[in-house]
Symmetry: C4
Subunit: 501 residues, 4 copies
């Protein structure tokens, strides 16, 4: 174990036949591990024979290396003098000076602008990207602008209380941090930093299945009454998911499981793909072995393997995700492995909301979400789905908690969603931009701005408590002209489902 390698020797092992990488100053032989890497073979081969620490670190939770490699894979240490010096500024777009004081930023757009300059191009591309032409991403925000508010007068607004409850837990804000992967790409404080910022507000956080820290680390410093959820992407290898659920069940801070359904296959996030391809071009030491080239270029179902690089951070995270979940099979399986309340995330049609309401009491709620516009472009914003539910099957709102996310940038957006019946409103990118802009302080500022804006809006509407917000406070006439008007499949689907069960 005390063997010291120099970089030139490591560099020879740059193929699928013999693949070494340097991580945190140590040299590993990962040849045998290649085929079981969740992020795919290519993601490793691109770094074969080189120091992979900078790429590896922000997207892998600590400890996962030891979990996955056999002890004998560790060959020794690298002589750091022999490694090439990193080119200045290669990874970061950050300006030499740091970010401005967080309190000088007045809204979430400004925070995003600061973060854009602070984080690496790769992080920016992963966070910013959405599918195809970003139409749904834009529409997620615009739809809020087209709803008007109806302020009322002569109402005592001295008091205003933002607290509410979800799945039986009291929370300080109706705003939660939606599961968003890879926080450490943007800032070393990572998901634990988000948790720290949430603590001051009693805000709820849903931990991403693809967090760059372990759930234990994230909840480690939580307040006693702080509320977390954990997001599950079911893996093809169910045992892995079951093991993970067992770990989660032990964490008292985690109060519910969010099962993500809106991305059985990854959307086409071109900025993320592009960032990946750009990264892959200048690296002269990166190789693709002959053998790799000869591999079949279609998957069993005929899907072509993407030719370009690793397919971006997003595609790597998807590796191993199960794409054949069903109402009939998946929910019973999940219920067997956890007693926590289940929230289904990613519903985009009233039919699915209705179906979900047939699965109480295990299923306690749904999150209307289009995955931040990252799955299918021209998918409807959550507000559309919410209005669609109100039109076709309003009883769902009685049976389930309905949460929303996507496009929220202002307190008025939060209030509008609450008026339509949402129980809680999630922010994904804004939390990551906050983190990227200023670490814990940036997330804190993000929540502070949204909370203040929400409170100002409620008071100008003459409303003291979250539960008093209602349809009478908003004018949705413009949006209603866009809501689905076609055939509903409610009846048929339910009988079909029953027949199968």
């Amino acid at each position: 174990m005390s063997k010291v390698f120099d970089a030139a020797e490591v560099a020879k092992h740059n193929s699928a036949e013999s693949c070494w990488v340097v991580l945190y100053g140590k040299v590993y032989d990962v040849t045998d591990f290649l085929s079981s890497h969740p992020g795919g073979v290519k993601a490793i081969l691109r770094l074969a024979g080189a120091d992979a620490t900078e790429e590896y670190d922000p997207i892998h939770p600590p400890g996962i290396l030891e979990e996955n490699l056999k002890p004998e894979a560790l060959l020794g240490t690298i002589d750091p003098e022999t490694l090439p010096k990193p080119a200045a500024g290669e990874q970061s777009q950050g300006e030499a000076e740091g970010p401005p004081p967080m309190e000088s930023l007045f809204n979430l757009d400004e925070i995003e602008q600061v973060a854009t300059k602070q984080v690496s191009r790769k992080a920016w591309a992963y966070y910013y990207s959405a599918s195809d032409d970003l139409a749904t991403k834009r529409f997620n925000t615009e739809v809020y602008r087209s709803i008007l508010l109806r302020p009322r007068v002569f109402i005592d607004v001295a008091k205003c209380d933002l607290s509410t409850s979800v799945v039986g837990q009291k929370i300080g804000l109706p705003i939660f941090v939606a599961p968003a992967a890879m926080a450490r790409l943007g800032h070393p404080a990572g998901e634990a930093g988000i948790a720290e910022a949430c603590r001051s507000f009693g805000a709820m956080q849903v931990i991403s299945n693809n967090a760059s820290m372990s759930p234990e680390q994230i909840v480690e410093n939580a307040a006693p009454d702080q509320v977390f959820g954990w997001q599950l992407y079911v893996q093809v290898d169910r045992k892995k998911s079951e093991a993970m659920l067992a770990r989660i069940n032990k964490l008292k801070a985690i109060k519910f499981i969010v099962l993500t359904l809106d991305a059985p296959v990854p959307g086409k996030r071109e900025d993320d793909l592009r960032s990946d391809i750009i990264a892959s071009i200048p690296a002269s030491s990166r190789v693709v072995t002959k053998k790799e080239e000869n591999q079949s270029d279609t998957l069993p179902d005929g899907t072509p393997v993407p030719k370009e690089g690793g397919g971006g951070v997003g595609a790597q995270l998807f590796a191993g995700t199960e794409c054949s979940l069903t109402w009939k099979e998946t929910l019973p399986w999940l219920a067997k492995h956890t007693d926590l309340p289940i929230i289904l995330k990613g519903l985009q049609a009233h039919e699915d909301a209705y179906l979900a309401s047939q699965f109480t009491p295990q299923v306690k709620g749904i999150i209307l979400s289009n995955h931040g516009g990252r799955a299918l472009d021209t998918a409807p914003p959550a507000i559309h789905t919410l209005l669609e539910i109100r039109k076709y099957c309003p009883e769902v709102l009685e049976k389930l908690e309905v949460w929303v996310d996507g496009g929220v940038r202002r307190g008025t957006d939060v209030v509008k969603a609450l008026c339509l019946g949402a129980r809680a409103v999630g922010i994904g990118r804004p939390a990551l931009w906050g983190l990227g802009a200023g670490g814990v302080a940036g997330v804190h500022r993000t929540l502070e701005i949204l909370a203040e804006e929400t409170r100002t809006c409620m008071r100008l509407l003459g409303v003291e408590k979250v539960e008093d917000l209602g349809l009478q406070h908003i004018n949705t006439r413009i949006v209603e002209q866009q809501i689905y008007d076609g055939p509903s499949q409610l009846g048929g689907l339910v009988s079909q489902l029953r027949a199968k069960l």
Copy 2:
């Protein structure tokens, strides 16, 4: 009193423990006054130990200093030689040369452009700013563009008369100057200058509660038949409001009270906030004492105290304003302290218009207003509320005078509002921009342009008198597709109100 201080000595008293300021060449100890300053502690502390005249002067009515400080607070005079010289151009964006001749400006946009160059950045930010993304500010103007006119032919239009009447008073124009604070920020002629310009047109002016001149000064040179109103923000300390009403009751020129309801808490005007923070950064002599920092950073209701500077001019003006007015309490209180007709300002929902109509005869009218887009972003423009009243409770138009303001930039806008049943149409920012661009002559030009445009429009519609304008002269079909369509609470609210009374 003849003691002469030099600036270095004054500069030592720059904390909450000992706070001196220089005003108009005199040195005051304001330590004891700090906590009762309506604009907040910080606004003074930022100028502690320094000459505050330039900041103080344009936003305080003359005489108010003497009213509020005890005689012993006056310590002596400053040796002017010892004061630092003001950096050239620090405050003003104005070009070296003055504005162009007012008669070379053809519309209100051009006047705003000239004013933007003439006034200080702080004044610009205070006047220009609106809440959040300025969506309502923009929509206020755009909604007029989406209404079409219906010109008629073969009608004798040799004569055209713009005069009308409000609350029983004859006025020369259906256009009035809405209450807009801090006119002296933009031009030394201040609110009295606006009054002078109004005189030539027989135009009505509503004096802001936060005027930078006293009401007595403003009406001093009024014509005998000139009509003024006075705007009231009810203070937490009701005695102050009562004392002010007693003063107003004595001024014969003031014919009615406008009670502002649309801003119980200040909106988030980022340009104004930003201007404040920018101003606070370069001032090396400005300090925040340790004690200040230790103060609680939430208000009793949990509202966080804004961290950034003083919160802009707008937030300072709001200090001390009562946010718990109600139909039940406030109107009887007000009626006890004045016999003047009451106009309620800031109604944005038909329910509130209907409720107001239950309070005749004390309440004579309402102003549909969203505070120039400065309170709640995505609130509806006054035209929406007017169409909503027509849809749900048109009888309100019989019982109350309905005035509007917000977004008016063209004579055609004025005519459209009148066609929909508005009795008078207010301009806020345009009067301030006129003043900023050219003082009295600028306001005069503003009113002249609007009056001429209004007259041209009426003649091309074939209408001689204001009262002959009607629904047949406009096509509102596009706007009607956006009007609130949801549940009305007319019935319930009125019974609820009756029960309480």
Copy 3:
């Protein structure tokens, strides 16, 4: 008469007390004429004491000088050597080189771009300008874009015939040149040049009341079957209009009278006003006498006299126009002075179209027009009025010929108007831009492009003859959502009118 003046002597007579001007090398004393100048006193005083030829020539028909001045007003001739040399490029924005070949221009926008560079700034401003924010001018064109066509297949389109007839006259194109004033501002060929271009196409031309050439000159070289109309603005001094009608009645080429109704007072054309004010500033020799300044600055009806210069070309042309025409008085008066068919121009509401249909057979047709957006901004485009007529009183289309103008830039626009029932489609600015771009050849190219585009469109719709175009060829669904939906005054107005007659 042989007396020769030098410029310095003329320059002394630069006031209302003694006002001389130089025109075509001759010196005139126009002091006595000042008050009767149709374009107003100021327009002359601005040129007092100077050579006015360049400004006078393009906007006055030849011979009008002699008609209006007494013989003794001619004082002598100017010594040309003593006149100041014109500054290069003062008047023209034209590039040194001339315009490109007309056949290299493919559409009307390109022709406008070329003309913009070729003509003087004053001409550009007069032609380009429209009222206020140019919203109606833009909307005139956009409304055509929002109508879709419905091409049909398997129809023999070998033949296509653009000829049609109006007021019983056969014409070669359904496209006519609408009355547009001051053609010689743009090109010396003037209105006669437009007539020459029309001749090749059998196109109809309506001669403006404010043409820069006399009607006799314009029709002088007309083809035997060429069709002209003459536009009448009724003058306050009816005798002048009657004399003019007597002249028109004698011209066999003129087949009808167009009575303009949509501009009883001038709209606010800011580009034109601005051009005027710019022109007035640098001229050091231009004066306004003390006496002038003391004149009342309101008209009898209270309209303020515009302070700025002469009010643009447009306002000068309006001087003397009657603004009190009525159905009851004006039509009988006109019928007494001409036997020609009458076309009423400028109708913008279905009520007026219906009223017009009560005045057959004298009134043969109406032109739906908003004066090219030059009268009232946010007035409806002609297509709106046409759809409004179809909605409320389609029988009008049986009783009257309905023509339209405004915003036409493509052959598809022409076809769309014809499909909706228009009998002929007018172009105003495009003819002037054509003239400005290339004189006769430019107008010819303009008509050629429109005719070719119209023919291509008709053939792709599968239509051979103008009269076969119909509602089945267009999809107006988007526009129909904007058509007036309010109260119609048809019944009431007709009875009211009958009562008065």
Copy 4:
């Protein structure tokens, strides 16, 4: 035949009286051929006396020269030394370096951008151009963006199959290459290159009547089950069309005939016209003979012959096309000359779709198309026509296969059209841009991107097979508000048609 000419001698024969051209190093006397050139006299005269190879080659199929010229027209060869050297970069806008790797391009817009730089200006203008203001071209794409998708969850999407069938033929993709002329203008691989790319995907290709290669060449290397169609523009000289059909009938790879109906006359494609005029200006050796100038400048039906150059590539291709096709005559004639299934292309109104459905079984399908926006501007996109058919005569979808083309840029567009009932979705320009960007690899990448996007979209909708896509997967509410609502002529037209037959 061995005679060698030098360029100076050839240059003398540059008129309609004696017209020589150099092609592929040989000198031809084409004087007698001039009047029968399908592309018009001028197209040849512009190159008279010069080497025409560069212009001729990419737009003429090989072998056509020999077919059309008599043997004695070949005079000899040119001495290449005597020809002028081509100016560098005259034809191509291409950058010195070639295109980027195709796999670095992620969407069709990026491929178009690369192609724009790679191809000659003439090719760009011909491919890019659309009629008038390109409104329909833009609308073709935008209409897809305004349709929303309705993703479903909890559906097993492990499998996804893009194969489908048309006219009884199995194809690998529901995406086909629409007939688009002149592929060799963009890349020497030409239409055969497109065929090669299609082969990998089992994609269908419709060969343009105006292909720059012969049908035999294009299908030469086809896979046994590869499907082609052939597009017919009926020629005025029917014998030519009949001869061509006889050739087509012999090619087993061609499975159907597409009869194009949407362009009986060419649309006005200004970019193409402009490219032509630009090309014609600098060529000093190009002449138009006196005789040519004296030719009549109108066609028998009165259409003016375009003055400007040859009218662009588009207009040249149209020469000789029959514009008097009818239901009654043309279909029986066509059925006499081929037994292949007939597809009618270019239908844009439900009435024509209905009429087509009366001509089964010869007519098997229709292509809803506006010719890529190249025929009539403001014509409806295919999606409009499809919705119109669903509204007025949905039974057409049972009787005929309905294909669409125009504006498709994303897999989501493909899916939306399929959901509405389209059987196949064509791409025209994207195939040509692919070819221009990277030859065969560029077309391959284009199809690969679309196929992958289509598959991702289907899986996120929870759909495994093309035939399972339906109305429940899309929200067309916005578009439905724009669909034709006017009088349908179904009944009348059919009886009219029957009467004629």
